[in-house]
Symmetry: D2
């Protein structure tokens, strides 16, 4: 099996390569594709050393030529980042000027990222479709994963979006419970970066209530959401929901602090320096601080399942709704636990959601619909409308100001705005 990684020059790539080296015996060839030639050369060579050090027989290559790289691929992983960390830092800062949270996937920052990313990913996907093997899967890591996956599916691609939130909870809960992670099945549901864990089954018994009773303070800390929210809902919202439940607290705490993007940019510089060392043959510990924990496990497991290799794991994927959440249209993209096989993901049954979940999900879904429209068709009014529809914005004065700031900041990446 040949796998192409679009955005393969990322400093994160060694994490993924390590996963394939350890877990992915089905991989014959791994092609890293990136327009940033210099960085790609460093990351590519390091990736080849990782495979070699682990005795994996697969071939690792790298290229700046997208068309050549994806030719005859069995699957493509998209992890590109339009505008790099600099664009991310902008996304994290301009909303703060209006008192709104600055984040790369949530709120106005997430919209900025969606606007510049969707057209690029659609172009990449078209080129994959023309040159990769028929039926090749596209696995999307590129944020905002829900919006990007929806755009890919609407354009007829065989795509699935992947998130590492659920696998992180699975690992953490397994640790609390003293069981193997694979023994924990989560009832994970929502939209990408708007999910809740509603149950944690071990041998068919839901251990979440006991787990919440015993570890409420730690879990509350980890997700940065007040304990009262968790006990009231009776579930565990993801960290991304703290941008909703603790919005103003985030804004207060962000002021005057370096953004996550700035921190990552610093780590990346150090990592790249490490990767240059020809004696380095395994991923350095520092990579763990870069974010994306367990993504490699999730990605390798999902790709194995999609290609018919035995895999008993439950994956947290972004797929068409198709009635799973009856209050959303069939064509919406939701994030939910699924098993997967040659035919694609099969969603686990979802018990009915309480109003506070369905209400917030529908509100954010509405924003996403308008965000996709803005990404595909452009124009200030569509940007304004998507912002006005976002539950964290919702008011004219902020939507108006944010629309101006977003367009000013992103002009170089927005064809219609330049």
């Amino acid at each position: 099996m040949k796998i192409a990684v679009i955005g393969g020059g990322s400093t994160y790539t060694p994490e993924l390569v390590d996963g394939f080296a350890r877990l992915g015996s089905m991989v014959d060839e791994l092609v890293l594709i990136d327009p940033a030639a210099e960085r790609l050369e460093i990351v590519g060579a390091f990736a080849a050393r990782i495979f070699a050090a682990q005795g994996h027989p697969g071939k690792v290559s790298w290229t700046t030529d997208l068309d050549a790289g994806v030719t005859d691929a069995d699957a493509a992983v998209i992890q590109l980042r339009v505008g790099g960390q600099q664009a991310r830092i902008t996304d994290e800062t301009f909303p703060l000027e209006c008192g709104c949270v600055g984040q790369e996937t949530t709120g106005a920052g997430g919209l900025a990222k969606a606007l510049r990313t969707v057209p690029v990913v659609l172009d990449v996907a078209d080129r994959i479709r023309r040159r990769a093997k028929p039926g090749a899967w596209i696995v999307d890591f590129t944020n905002p994963v829900g919006i990007v996956t929806r755009a890919l599916l609407d354009a007829g691609h065989r795509a699935v979006g992947l998130c590492n939130v659920a696998i992180g909870f699975q690992r953490r809960f397994a640790g609390y419970l003293g069981v193997d992670p694979s023994a924990v099945v989560l009832d994970h549901v929502g939209l990408n970066h708007l999910t809740w864990e509603r149950a944690a089954y071990v041998d068919g018994v839901d251990r979440l209530p006991a787990l919440l009773a015993a570890h409420l303070p730690e879990i509350s800390d980890e997700v940065d959401i007040a304990p009262e929210v968790l006990t009231t809902l009776g579930n565990v919202p993801s960290y991304y929901l703290s941008y909703f439940y603790s919005h103003d607290k985030h804004v207060r705490e962000s002021l005057g602090q370096p953004t996550r993007g700035q921190r990552v940019a610093e780590i990346e510089a150090v990592l790249l320096d490490m990767y240059r060392d020809v004696n380095l043959v395994e991923k350095p510990a520092l990579l763990g601080e870069r974010g994306g924990a367990y993504y490699s496990e999730a990605a390798v497991g999902l790709l194995a399942s999609l290609h018919g290799y035995d895999d008993s794991a439950v994956h947290s994927v972004n797929v068409r709704n198709n009635g799973t959440l009856p209050f959303l249209p069939a064509e919406a993209v939701i994030e939910v636990s699924a098993r997967a096989g040659l035919e694609g993901p099969a969603t686990l049954p979802v018990t009915p959601l309480p109003p506070d979940m369905s209400g917030l999900i529908t509100h954010v879904w509405a924003y996403e619909e308008l965000a996709i429209d803005a990404a595909l068709r452009g124009g200030r009014q569509r940007v304004y409308r998507a912002l006005l529809a976002h539950p964290l914005i919702g008011q004219h004065e902020y939507a108006d100001a944010l629309a101006d700031k977003l367009i000013a900041a992103g002009r170089q990446h927005l064809a219609w705005a330049s």
Copy 2:
């Protein structure tokens, strides 16, 4: 036909009585019911003078005895106000302390009102059911109308909720267009106090686009929402949506100002004084400033329709959803245009809603579900949960503080909190 008015001692009652006197030839007997004996005596006597002055043959009576008053009634109108204007003033002020809008039907104030009102209305409705004629309709004006109507329907009552927002727009648009109000049919849809006018048909042709083009500044002013919102949505949100689209502006402008409840309390004192004058036989002009414009037209028209009298009017009513808005459950209560007859309201067809409307509606519906639960079952956690679910609150720190303030302010009206 005998009609009982629960809360008949309100200073607003003469408006309703005037409507019956002018329009309601089907009324044989009008009974005003109110526990406030002194005020009832003043309003009742004035009501009788209005009927007499207009030569209406119907009988007007008044009583503090609810059971006696509703006996053999053909219909009951509920317009009671638990806690009077004082409670309203509290609803309008305590949320401001947290930077949230203070309003008697929207946000934390609306929840406070729902909590103290739902149990009282349900008790009244039970007593109506035992003594009124079989099949007697309950028409609810008491706010929050959507929540109260839902509670009434869930308890098996033959109820319909009525709002005067749509009839107000109908009058205003007819004025702009230079046609008779009855010629204007609105596409009015949403939840109570969360509605939009999406079309204004005259002879089957939608005149709203032209009307918006010609009168955007005035309409924008009237609803206190920026013109850009109206042009982007392509419709006219009700004034109550300004608490969403212009939330912070409202909060800023409210600080240090007397509340609407305080203003109404002053007007009421003057009105009551006027009503004492035995020479007064028609409603004074000042009543028009009290709020509730066109409510009497709407109410008299609806009651006529429900009792089989010819009536070609379209009413804006609160009824079960039953698939009208496919994204809400069948049992939800929505506000929509309807025709009515002996068998009750028949909703006009509703074309599919765009995401920004369905998203916000669903979010507020979720709050309403939890508000009803809190009203019926009580407890701080249910109050907190409803607040957290409200799109205007949504954050832990505000829901937490507002829950405390709401309970402290409303303790005397909340059985479970005292």
Copy 3:
């Protein structure tokens, strides 16, 4: 108001004209349009005498020129019959050769009628759209009304289908109950010619259970369905449902008997002779045996409502489903009670249906979907598929034989088959 009647040369037309003369004071001009010049001349002249005899000031005219006739019309009534009574007789006989019921709207005969009628009605409607006033309503009486209305709505016409089944029950039940027909509100629901009366409200109280208890034998006789069906369902199916519940009995009884079409053809000949008599100025009693009882009341009432004239009647109309029956798609056309106004029909709320109703309705809806497809696109396979999908056919051997017979019999009216 100018009303155009397409198919105005029908011997049934005097019934409709009589209705307008007695009830329709809003009519200024009535234009009868028909390609059969000789018959039209006779019917037109008689229609003018009816108006004159009743002192109605409106003008009656007639023409064979469709485009001229519909010019500036405010509404058009379509009651044409492609192929005349001869085609109907064919529809009523060819299915019997396969042991299937022969009927002009149900089963294979209904499909034959749909196939030859839909293209003609769509062409007529396009010509109406080009020449009638903007917003002019099309009221369709032409069978199969459900399928024809669906085709009209799909093509963007402002159409409503009308059936006289419900008004017939209303009259009959009112007679049993000794009340005025207008006092009876029916819970009438289903697809055209597949409807059940589930309740008969008088003053808000359902009188159907008592009515069934007192008159079961007569009602059972009238609808030609065994009493056990009515008591088991607890409702009253229309006569057309006897083609389902008593299918084989119908087939047995039809063999060797003249068809309804043959009987109507005989009556029509006599009627036409009567109409020639210039002294005849009111509709003859024999017209009552021709079918279509109360259609004129229904039609005049509906047209009045749609043009804003006061009308408190409930109409039985064919309209888009839009969630009324949640198990059917929004775009399906259903038959249901409605009030109507300038903005069109407003459906009465429909309480959930039991499985035996929803199951049969969905099965017939499926046939109708495929019938429309066959009518619009033609081809033997589409005809076969629609027949196979019909619950009264359902088997290959019958669908195969009926497809051949239908095409052979209808070849002259089916463009694609000739």
Copy 4:
């Protein structure tokens, strides 16, 4: 893992035992439970010999004591048959007297089976719940599987229904295509014994169109449905759909022929004689003619998946609908392809169904709803109603006669009828 087999004395049991011996290394203990002591002894001893001959370390035991047998079981397989082959023969013959198909799961015979089976299975399941391990799964093979599974789920059991139709098609199509069965993923959907194969994916490419083109005559023969049905629908209905598409042909061919039940009874007598032979240690070839091909593969695979053992197979299961087929209620039980794990089955996405499938499915679903009601509450009227609702019956005269015959034939098994 301990597995209890209710109805373990069936002559079919060796098929299942062989499956566990070959495939089910996770089984520690297999308990066969049956009230027929003598037959159980023979089958039980043979089962033990099969395990021993294959070197499987698991223990095989048997008992007539249900409570003892299910104690501490990890899973229970229900394959009981109320009334034995004699009752089946009755089901297969009494409908023929009315010209209706005689079959043990479809039509009046299927209703008879449901009526006598549902109460017995519910009682068995209650006893399993009290004594088996918490979270133990119930896998139901007992027909009618859809109705029985629905009754089990409604009663709160952790149950899944299993059918061997899909696995049979998978094997057959794999043979035509020359690939391993596990490489074929079917798009299998409907209700139990009312399913269609809509696609056969191999490596993500649908091979069904080519397969139909190449093997239409053989496939048409196997399912006993005319080729024109398959080419028109573009899919492959299961053999059970021939009772619909070829109903009268079945009836004609059944007259004067021995029923399937009679043939099975003969085979069973011979099989039992063979099983007595202490030298027999593997399932005899004759067992293959008894029916239920591949059931053991399907059952062992599903049980493995449900207990967390790696299993990449797609299973054809009966589960709650939950929006998968949007035209059926969430609580309906449908049959669909699924992956399975500790948390239960995860349904594969189902693309929208064409009207002919959704129409027939909904009609049969309606019958099933009424059949369950009749099974749980009894009474001739409920039996009559279910029959009248069945698309293969539908007429009063047959429902009336069949109700009498069904009750007369089944009286000894129907508590309410004796």
